[in-house]
């Protein structure tokens, strides 16, 4: 008897087999798609762990994507150079990448000023970032479409040696991890470093203290306001990297509104990942896989019974899946995800002497 013909179990096995095929064949693209989500979510982790809600991740990414692309273009016109063997980097691209990071930091500093210094409503502050970033980049996008500037190109993916990628069983994993541009490749390292720092370092302990109980933190001499500024601006570095991914790593041009809600999926990943860097990364990986799966079912549909069932699910369902999962998680249906206690609450020092 064929194992795959057993009613429910057989179908589950077919699904498993199909998932394994899709993930191994698309490993590289899945990890690449994870990068902007995970870096965006990391930005959120840094902010929210210290008590600042950042729903402006989307806008920060969009602004950084534009600035990175624009500065890279200007710089590579000023300093034309052949792509180096190292990720195909040129001085222009490196300057663009740095500009994107600086832009992310500046935008985040504005958020910090509104949220920490002015003690404005943090949701409104984040919304302002989103609206202004979408407005200004959209405005420039129209201006530059009538006055085109040459693209600076993009970073190239590293090509891993074939003896690694040709290995049976694990070859795809090396290919997925190593056949990537610099931003995606740095992701896993950054995630692990941040997880260790957040839960094993002095700075991490202080950050979590400020996010959970700022008054107690202040009594032991931690400057809540300074730490919140630091963390929000550090988050801006990650949002800047996520933005640069769009225009000089994965793609090489800027389109208005190109982040397409990924900043909000990042927010979802952050909650699903329970405000932890590794959790946020795994959630981003899951969401990226869900997106890739939606595409794969259309391009290479599975055969047989499974194909009939999966084919009947509209592709829009897979696109909506990250958002549905987030609501389900927030509602506490699948385990509870609890935010830092002081998340979103402005901090006021008791005495100003």
């Amino acid at each position: 008897m064929n194992l795959l013909d057993i009613p429910v179990l057989g179908l589950a096995l077919q699904l498993l087999g199909y998932l394994v095929t899709v993930c191994t064949q698309n490993g590289t693209i899945i990890l690449a798609l994870t990068a902007p989500l995970a870096f965006g979510a990391l930005c959120g982790v840094m902010c929210e762990r210290s008590g600042v809600v950042n729903i402006g991740i989307e806008g920060t990414m969009l602004a950084a994507a534009f600035v990175g692309w624009f500065v890279a273009s200007i710089a590579s016109q000023a300093m034309p150079a052949d792509p180096s063997p190292f990720f195909g980097a040129t001085p222009g691209l490196v300057i663009g990448l740095l500009a994107a990071i600086v832009c992310g930091m500046l935008v985040s500093a504005i958020l910090a000023w509104l949220a920490v210094t002015l003690r404005a409503d943090q949701i409104i502050a984040g919304t302002i970032i989103n609206i202004v970033a979408a407005g200004i980049t959209g405005y420039f996008d129209v201006l530059f479409s009538t006055n085109p500037i040459p693209t600076a190109g993009k970073f190239e993916a590293f090509v891993p040696p074939s003896f690694l990628t040709d290995l049976p069983v694990v070859g795809w994993l090396f290919s997925a991890l190593l056949n990537q541009g610099p931003i995606t490749m740095s992701l896993i390292v950054v995630v692990i470093v941040m997880e260790v720092l957040l839960f094993r370092s002095r700075w991490g302990l202080r950050t979590r203290a400020v996010g959970e109980h700022p008054k107690a933190a202040e009594t032991v001499g931690i400057s809540v306001i300074r730490l919140r500024y630091q963390n929000v601006i550090l988050g801006g570095v990650f949002a800047g990297l996520a933005g640069a991914w769009f225009t000089i790593d994965f793609g090489n041009s800027f389109v208005g509104g190109m982040t397409g809600g990924r900043g909000f999926i990042a927010l979802a990943a952050l909650i699903f990942g329970r405000w932890r860097p590794v959790g946020a990364f795994l959630a981003s990986l899951l969401f990226a896989t869900s997106i890739a799966l939606g595409t794969a079912i259309r391009t290479t549909p599975p055969t047989g019974q499974l194909g009939t069932i999966l084919g009947a699910i509209p592709e829009q369902f897979f696109a909506a899946l990250p958002y549905i999962v987030t609501i389900v998680v927030l509602a506490g249906v699948v385990g509870r995800s609890v935010a830092p206690a002081a998340d979103g609450q402005p901090y006021e020092r008791e005495s100003v002497s």
Binding site: D121, I123, I128, A134, F144, P314, A319, D343
Partner: protein, 375 residues
Amino acid sequence: MIARLRAQLLVPAGAIVLALIVGAVIIIVTSPLAVQKLDLSLPLATYWALVQGSLGSIDGIVDTLRAASPLILVGLAVALPFKAGLFNIGGQGQFLIGAVTAAWVGAALSGASPFVALPVAVLAGMLAGAAYGFIPGWLKAYTGAHEVVTTIMLNYIAMQIVSYLIQGPLKAPGATFARSADVGNSALPVIFQQTAGHPAHLGIIFPYIAAVLVWWLLYRTTIGFEIRTAGANPDAARYAGMRPRFLIVLTMVIAGLLVGLAGAGEILGVQGYMVAGYSTNVGFDAITVALLGRTHPFGVVLAGLLLGAMRAGAPLMQISAGIPVQMVDVLQGVILFFLTADIVVRWVFRIRAAGSGGPEKLATVSASSGGSTAK
């Protein structure tokens, strides 16, 4: 009374003036790209075109009123929950669901008598919007899931629902692109025919009726008093025996109802059908409207008219001054920025921090976003 009103209006007016100044700087800096030369007078030409396009002709005024309609309705749907301490960023999703439902019911009844088809289609859109507002309200009240995050998620889910429905079950037979069938007899009647562009439909009077009703609800009924108390001091509301969960759900349902009406109005009054990629920014524009209007129903009407005028004047601005219509988005965002950073406005215009007539306290809204704040 007058003094209080003056204090209420000073900061929004100052924010608008500062935003226009910032906009002028951006226009001058980008003038080499827009008109191929550095033009110091371009801001004046731009703003003049904006005024001309929105108020300079009967057609412009009609355009302004039509553009203001959804902004006021959705602005009310942000302002009302705000009074209850809730932040509804789900206008976009509620709008899309209301619109697609109105398009669906409208198309299904396109052959029926207008006296049946029109009210049923409008009501269907409103109820669908209300149902979509009910979801985050219920989630907030009974599971503690924060409405800001759930409404953002629901916005994206709504886009996918619309895309699925219009490309699938609702696709008009024989259409060359994915769109729903014409609404026919369900269309809102034309009340004023323009020489060019879309005529004014009956729906443009809805927002003003809605604003009065929301004002009456908030300031003349017990429910309104409870909503405002729950927003200002949730603990006091609970001790006074009010039902916070019921109030949360009710407020979000009314908000959804208003947004659903806006969505139905756009489909039945302007578009006549729905496309799969129907995109709208109304949910986020409405946040500016609500905050610029100081979350008061009548303030929302004024703010909605102002931003509606900017939307209506934008095409002429692009044609005659060469500044892309996206400038309006920039101005809107900068207005919102200065409203929030009102310390800058007060400093520039030497406005003293007002006591009782001061700005709305916004602190209750975002406490512990994202996380579960269950009981």
